[in-house]
């Protein structure tokens, strides 16, 4: 194999974070196995007709249904820095001083992305296979019945590997917006394929639905009437018929989908070659800020200034304008439009939470004195919480009395962002989670933001406590690990 590809794959696979992600996928897959008689069910199919999750074919189709959304999301977070790490490490600028074939370089990066995604897919298959053995040891199923539903993810992963590369080369997306764009693209594609029935086949969920219908039809003579993926609540246990899922059938439409995916991937890689910078990118100088030479006294003011300096001026102006407008609009407009838009714009700030300070090893230096480190971390959190409360002030003033659930939510968001940034070491997890939250909110799951719901508020209070434990306990763990 080409040394370039070997190098790319090796450097990706050896990242400690990748091992962590593989472990997370393994656990998640095990949790995605359909069960019967529990309040949280991964997959429920016509419960009045069929006995639920009573054979191993349910495992692979249940896992596939959830993972067609979850695996690309996790995968996107994992691979969406291949080129930026090459830029930041100086390797790409170094290579640009020699005559490098852009096609070879980006093709190897695409293969590196794909290898990482296939690694995650393999972990998912192993975990699902293990669950089949644990849950249904000795129960027969054909290899295709097991692996077939899981293979539908593969064409989408090929597209994702190429799309991640494209977002890192397109000037408009190669900054912070790339991860958010991919997360949004995955969500939109997944839900459009589950909703309309029109099959593009990028995620593979439409193929799973077809397989589900085909399997149900084989038993009942009609298409499926009720399906629930990742639902809660009691499921009727009246059904007594056994539903065996057939493997995915490779018909003309499926081959067409695979061809479309491969063509899209080739197109994205080709476009990446076109858009990859020909000379090293200039370091972003924020001269206007430097020239002002603001001298600030106090840690909180200094931290506020540092965080504000990370946000582009145009974004600050747009956010400020929308924020001012939000005070003058109706409650319905605030909650349905202004709140999600303002909070989506605030991603630029939240993605800095928990890790941005260490870009220049400042946090490492501060950690030489535990007091200074805690002072700085507290200032960081205070600034983020204050910013989030201020951002959501247009909502808060609409309440006739103090809305504790909403205030708790305002506290929870920056704290969770700090915790995730601290653990992952970058803002991609935060970015993806925030995008998923607001995408779900805009698609009707408004209860995710608790305006008055005490129950949801309590959940966020619990998450807040966990985040605080992570934020202040993480360094103790790191220090101990170093000592060992």
């Amino acid at each position: 194999m080409d040394e370039l590809i070997i190098g790319e794959i090796t450097r990706r696979m050896r990242r400690p974070a990748y091992v962590g992600v593989c472990f997370a996928v393994f656990i998640l897959t095990a949790l995605c196995v359909p069960t019967s008689g529990t309040s949280l069910h991964v997959l429920a199919v016509d419960p009045t007709i069929f006995h639920q999750a009573d054979n191993p074919t349910w495992i692979s189709i249940g896992v596939a249904f959830v993972m067609t959304l979850v695996l690309p999301m996790i995968g996107a977070m994992t691979i969406n820095n291949a080129l930026s790490t090459a830029r930041e490490s100086g390797v790409l600028p170094f290579l640009q001083t020699s005559r490098v074939s852009r096609v070879r370089l980006l093709s190897s990066m695409f293969i590196g992305n794909l290898a990482q995604l296939l690694g995650l897919w393999l972990v998912m298959v192993i975990s699902a296979g293990g669950m089949c053995l644990i849950r249904f040891f000795g129960v027969a199923m054909t290899p295709w019945q097991f692996i077939g539903p899981l293979t539908v993810l593969l064409p989408g992963l090929v597209v994702l590997a190429a799309l991640a590369l494209l977002t890192e080369t397109l000037p408009i997306l190669r900054g912070r917006s790339g991860s958010a764009f991919i997360s949004l693209a995955i969500l939109v594609t997944y839900f459009s394929e589950t909703g309309s029935g029109r099959v593009v086949g990028l995620t593979g969920v439409s193929t799973l639905i077809a397989t589900l219908n085909h399997s149900v039809k084989a038993v009942t003579g009609h298409a499926v009437r009720g399906v629930q993926v990742l639902g809660t609540g009691a499921v009727s246990a009246k059904g007594h018929r056994t539903l065996l899922f057939s493997g995915v059938s490779f018909n003309g439409q499926l081959w067409q989908q695979i061809a479309v995916c491969l063509a899209l991937a080739a197109l994205f890689v080709g476009l990446s070659c076109v858009f990859l910078e020909r000379r090293p990118l200039k370091a972003k100088h924020r001269q206007h800020q430097a020239k002002r030479d603001n001298v600030v006294h106090g840690l909180i003011a200094g931290e506020a200034l540092r965080l504000l300096a990370t946000i582009p001026m145009w974004l600050k102006i747009v956010t400020m304008m929308l924020w001012v407008i939000s005070f003058g609009v109706q409650w319905a407009t605030v909650t349905s439009v202004m709140l999600p838009v303002l909070n989506l714009l605030a991603i630029a700030l939240l993605v800095q939470a928990g890790w941005g300070i260490n870009e220049n090893k400042v946090a490492d230096w501060l950690s030489l004195s535990s007091r200074r480190m805690y002072q700085h971390r507290s200032a960081h959190i205070v600034v983020l919480i204050a910013a989030n409360l201020l951002l959501n002030l247009p909502v808060l003033i609409h309440f006739t009395h103090i809305s504790w659930p909403f205030i708790i939510w305002c506290l929870a968001m920056p704290l969770l962002a700090v915790a995730s940034g601290q653990i992952v070491g970058n803002g991609r997890l935060t970015e993806s989670l925030v995008v998923v939250l607001w995408f779900s909110y805009l698609n009707g799951k408004t209860t995710l933001v608790p305006f008055t719901q005490v129950g949801t508020g309590a959940v966020y209070a619990g998450l807040t406590l966990i985040a605080i434990l992570v934020i202040f306990g993480w360094n103790c763990f790191k220090v101990r690990r170093v000592a060992v």
């Binding site: 070997i6 050896r14 990242r15 170094f94 290579l95 020699s98 074939s101 000379r279």
Partner: protein
């Protein structure tokens, strides 16, 4: 091979990093690019290595503009940047193979060259370790090996001795001297002792301008009569003069300074070193231009 800097100017906003730099490099050997921090050396190197385009002027390789045709130079260039590029997850050998493949170098010749470079730079014993576990000096040696991949005709190094211990520095000087027998090596540095013994020619920069272009010996002879030494009690207030060295000797210190006159009583004229000469030129005491 001939490289011509033709009135090269580079500005960043209102800041002029390099102004009307004109020089011709055409013979094999080591050329030292010297100047204090902020003199414009790194900017000039970045323009020469086709990373940035000059705002004005042109850089020509054998008569063809490398600003317009950067690939012409890229095929002949070996570059050692100031910030060492590396992937921490790879071993030295894997990293060098990766870079060689990215540059499209032929496999068989590259394998042989990588083994030779690993030995030459004393990396053969540690090549199995990941670069994340290397010291700064070790990584610097890997970067030097990377810059020599593909037998480049022009080698440009930006502060090549940073992070190296004295033995490594001496060994690097020897290596570059050997390479310079058939190639052009441009070493940009502010540590004059690094190039004193190896450079055939020096280009001295101050505030973005070229203020000396010539042989080290010419710089030294130009500075004759401008370098002084005086013994003074420790802590004695001194006039505001450019001091090139202070050496403590028992109860007093020997101060070496550059000036056109012995501004401190009892100062004696001494033979200049390249460092003294550079200081004298940078301070404007010697008005010479090659």
């Amino acid at each position: 091979m001939e490289i011509v800097f033709d009135h090269v100017t580079m500005t960043f906003g209102d800041d002029v990093a390099v102004k009307h730099f004109t020089a011709t490099l055409n013979a094999a050997g080591v050329v030292g690019l010297i100047g204090p921090n902020g003199a414009g050396k790194s900017t000039l190197v970045r323009m020469l290595t086709t990373q940035i385009k000059p705002t004005e002027g042109d850089i020509l390789l054998d008569g063809t503009s490398i600003v317009k045709h950067p690939d012409l130079l890229r095929t002949k260039l070996g570059y050692l940047p100031q910030q060492i590029p590396y992937y921490p997850e790879l071993t030295a050998r894997a990293y060098l193979h990766y870079l060689a493949a990215a540059k499209g170098l032929p496999r068989v010749a590259t394998d042989e060259q990588i083994e030779r470079l690993l030995g030459q730079l004393h990396l053969d014993a540690i090549h199995g370790r990941r670069l994340a576990n290397y010291s700064g000096g070790m990584r610097q040696r890997v970067a030097i090996a990377a810059s020599l991949l593909g037998e480049p005709q022009l080698i440009v190094c930006d502060e090549p001795t940073v992070g190296l211990d004295p033995i490594e520095r001496a060994s690097l000087r020897t290596l570059y001297s050997q390479l310079a027998q058939t190639r052009l090596v441009l070493m940009s540095t502010h540590i004059i002792s690094d190039i004193e013994s190896v450079a055939n020619r020096i280009l001295l920069m101050r505030q973005g301008r070229l203020c000396f272009d010539g042989k080290p010996a010419d710089a030294i002879s130009a500075a004759q009569g401008c370098v002084w030494e005086v013994a003074a009690p420790i802590g004695k207030a001194l006039p505001d003069i450019p001091i090139s060295a202070v050496k403590q000797v028992s109860a007093h210190e020997v101060i070496r300074f550059v000036a056109d006159q012995p501004v401190i009583a009892g100062a004696e004229q001494v033979t200049p070193t390249l460092e003294d000469a550079s200081l004298a030129i940078l301070e404007g005491l010697v008005m010479t231009h090659g």
